[in-house]
């Protein structure tokens, strides 16, 4: 294949799948890695070094809840000392002032805090835990320590009506950035798709509120709005191309081209315990599978948008059509768009008949 492979810019390091929350929209796999299968401190330190050698400049320490790893400070130090921009992606539970002060002194650059709703009643229901008040406290700690803060909200039917209040909350928390991301249906979230899918009415109501807020807050708080892709005409430029910019290391050391890629069961899974990271990035079958354009079929192969959206999401193509090389069925030019339209019609029918199922809350199902 004649493709120039650039070094990766970012690494999503999923330190653990353990998490104090039970969000129904969780995009982690249905089967989680057990604590005993997590990489050791030494192994994570080696992964961070290999990633920097490979060209990684941004390290996102995530999970699950990364604060559940007692070696988090060591990992922050190593990534920062090597010159990486270190980002902590957290639920905020366990983020005390002494802990964050220590992490900041070790070089932590940025905190991303998840919020489930605009008020405690709604947010705690979605998180499946009494978490909201503790998140408010965590945001205050980030502010006191002087680190920049992004607030991340996953939007779905049960909180979409709160978009305006969520923006106000993020302002009140002193966020520098607010990510309002409609649910992406991977992992556990796929189980709850009917319950999570926003209605067209909700999306239409949110749009002008977000647009006005983006204008009003320009220069003070950046708002990133991620659309509900099932309702779109064209697919998202997933990961800016497969194996192009970022890699994910799962808690057990599996190395994936995107956080959801383990769903593509037709691809072999690489692991840092058995193969050097650089070799995985440049030479592995899984990372090369959808690089460039040779893998594309019609209509992508000759489509003017192929360099813009890279054919959309490989995981979504696999989940909805069974073929990871197919055009993302979200695309209106896809021969499989009827699959997505069928899903939306079924959702609509469920809403109209009052037959929307309850959330199946995330449970710590682990691989045995």
């Amino acid at each position: 294949m004649d493709v120039t492979v650039e070094p990766p810019l970012g690494m999503l390091a999923e330190l653990t799948h353990r998490c104090p929350l039970h969000c129904p929209y969780c995009s982690n796999p249905v089967e989680l890695a057990a604590k005993r299968d997590e990489l050791t401190t030494e192994q994570w330190l080696a992964v961070i070094e290999a990633a920097r050698d490979l060209g990684v400049l941004q390290v996102h320490l995530s999970g699950g809840e990364p604060l559940l790893r007692p070696d988090l400070p060591e990992l922050v130090s190593r990534a920062s000392d090597l010159g990486c921009y270190v980002n902590l992606v957290t639920s905020g539970l366990g983020l005390t002032k002494p802990r964050l002060t220590d992490l900041a002194e070790r070089g932590l650059a940025h905190v991303q805090l998840s919020v489930q709703g605009a008020d405690a009643a709604r947010a705690d229901l979605i998180a499946g835990a009494k978490a909201h008040a503790r998140k408010i406290d965590a945001a205050a700690v980030v502010h006191e320590v002087g680190l920049p803060l992004s607030v991340n909200v996953v939007l779905h039917r049960a909180n979409h009506d709160q978009v305006g209040a969520l923006i106000a909350l993020a302002e009140q928390l002193g966020a520098d950035r607010l990510e309002l991301a409609n649910t992406q249906y991977y992992g556990w979230a796929l189980r709850n798709r009917t319950a999570l899918m926003p209605t067209p009415g909700q999306l239409a109501a949110a749009e002008p509120i977000v647009r006005a807020a983006v204008e009003r807050l320009r220069g003070r708080m950046e708002i990133v709005y991620v659309v509900a892709d099932y309702y779109e005409k064209y697919p998202k430029p997933c990961m800016y191309g497969w194996g192009a910019r970022q890699l994910t290391v799962a808690p057990n050391g599996d190395v994936l081209p995107c956080p959801a890629a383990s769903v593509i069961t037709t691809l072999p899974v690489e692991n840092v315990r058995s193969r050097p990271l650089a070799e995985i990035w440049y030479e592995s079958e899984s990372f090369n599978a959808f690089r460039g354009e040779d893998w594309m079929r019609d209509p992508c192969r000759t489509c003017d948008f192929r360099a813009r959206d890279f054919g959309g999401c490989r995981c979504q193509a696999f989940m909805l059509t069974g073929d990871a090389s197919a055009t993302d069925p979200v695309c209106s030019r896809s021969p499989d768009r009827s699959v997505v339209d069928g899903i939306l019609a079924a959702e609509d029918a469920a809403v109209r008949s009052g037959g929307v199922p309850e959330f199946v809350m995330r449970t710590p199902t682990v691989v045995r």
């Binding site: 810019l9 650059a109 920049p148 950035r177």
Partner: protein, 85 residues
Amino acid sequence: MPGKPRLRRGVRLTFDKVRDTHVLLFPEGVLVPNATAAAVLELCDGASDVDQIAARLGTRFRGVRAEDVTDVLARFEDRRVVEWT
């Protein structure tokens, strides 16, 4: 343009040995400034104004004008990298 430029909170300018270039790192992105832009950004300390930055660059590069510095900074302000104190 008012005041004195500095890198926004959460933005870091560093040298990447792997790519042999300066890089600007921020929450969700990486920018690769050219050598001139990197030289300007290195002088954005929140204490110097555009004229002072241009004067300091003048000791390293020939023919540096304040408006060139302003142009560079305006570009990075649009990308949310630079702010004015």
